[in-house]
Symmetry: C2
Subunit: 217 residues, 2 copies
């Protein structure tokens, strides 16, 4: 007999509650975003908040248990479509519009993309990968001469973060408003549109941290 080592195996009811909680969490997160009260998730799972905490310990952990799959599917799908384009500018546009569309499509993705939850390993990895791809696209499009030469990944981060905020409040009332916002941004990002920027890229040094550490007010 090989000693199975590892974690001591859960009782069947515990196992079942984990499944129910995950299912409920997916539903609720998708509908209402990642900051929905945990009690609502517990209730939908037909379980007490105590159990939720027993099983997952924290909101972050629950997010980590539930979101990676969803995110990675959507994100790799997006990156796939992006790469179909042969023209670097088209690729850049596809990326920007694609990410924005994800934000608009699901509150949970929006929360994640806006980094409102400094989530754990898996999620961070996935997001960083997508971000790295974005950085590559930025460089390619600059080299190609279609994206303005002074553009940086930081500028893109700002635009998408802003778009996330916008989408959060207009999702129900003006669900297409973001499209104009992004379109104007993209027009401003073209090399032909470029006029001198008032400050250099070093001004964006700390924005990423500013985004991650945001109390909702």
């Amino acid at each position: 007999m090989i000693p199975t080592g590892g974690t001591p195996r859960l009782r069947r009811d515990a196992q079942r509650n984990i499944e129910r909680l995950k299912a409920a969490a997916i539903e609720v997160f998708r509908e209402r975003g990642l900051s929905t009260p945990l009690e609502d998730i517990a209730t939908r799972a037909g379980v007490s908040t105590g159990t939720l905490y027993n099983r997952f310990g924290s909101r972050e952990a629950l997010i980590d248990a539930v979101m990676p799959e969803l995110v990675s599917v959507r994100l790799t799908h997006l990156l796939g479509r992006v790469r179909e384009h042969t023209n670097p500018w088209r690729r850049f546009v596809a990326y920007v519009e694609g990410v924005a569309a994800l934000q608009a499509d699901e509150p949970a993705l929006n929360d994640l993309i806006s980094r409102r939850f400094p989530a754990a390993a898996e999620l961070t990895r996935i997001c960083d990968e997508a971000l790295a791809e974005g950085a590559r696209l930025v460089e390619d499009a600059k080299r190609h001469g279609s994206l303005r030469a002074d553009f940086t990944i930081g500028d893109l981060g700002i635009a998408l973060w802003c778009n996330g905020q916008l989408v959060r409040v207009t999702r129900t009332t003006a669900p297409d408003a973001w499209r104009r916002n992004i379109a104007i941004f993209l027009d401003g990002a073209r090399a032909k549109a470029a006029h001198d920027l008032p400050v250099g890229p070093e001004a964006l040094f700390a924005v990423q941290e500013a985004f991650t550490a945001q109390p909702p007010r």
Copy 2:
């Protein structure tokens, strides 16, 4: 003797508390924005929260008692500088950059401009006036051929609202980040930069309401 009618005149201590509260409110609002806990204001005024509520009744009322002057000074000053420009595009730019700079300069103005507080008569009037001026500038610049023909005041509203959000989180960490954001937006707003927008201006119909009615989450 002419009966003075009107409000029955306050006791001297009440009068004094009102002044103290206003002074404290101005300070605190300017430092930390319009959603600072009222208790902090009462404390700074050396008065209890009860008194604050006695004298003003609500946060909104306090804001209304204290902000109009500040706002109207800054805003009329800005509009004055804007009107110095003879070129419609320059005027538009001066307006956009000016408003953005106000947002960056004081949290309280930012809150107000972002309409997080559906404030009363006076303030609304002042803001609406500035907004109307913005609309005029948009039309002028479009007629002038420098601003893209498909641009609307709604697009400007979105850009400035987004900028307000951006500034709120980057104020301390990356205080110049907004400048690049606004510059890219302006480049995208130029007529020469214009490419077809994906949706018409009707998509922005409800954004104003979306902005005004925002629970912080």
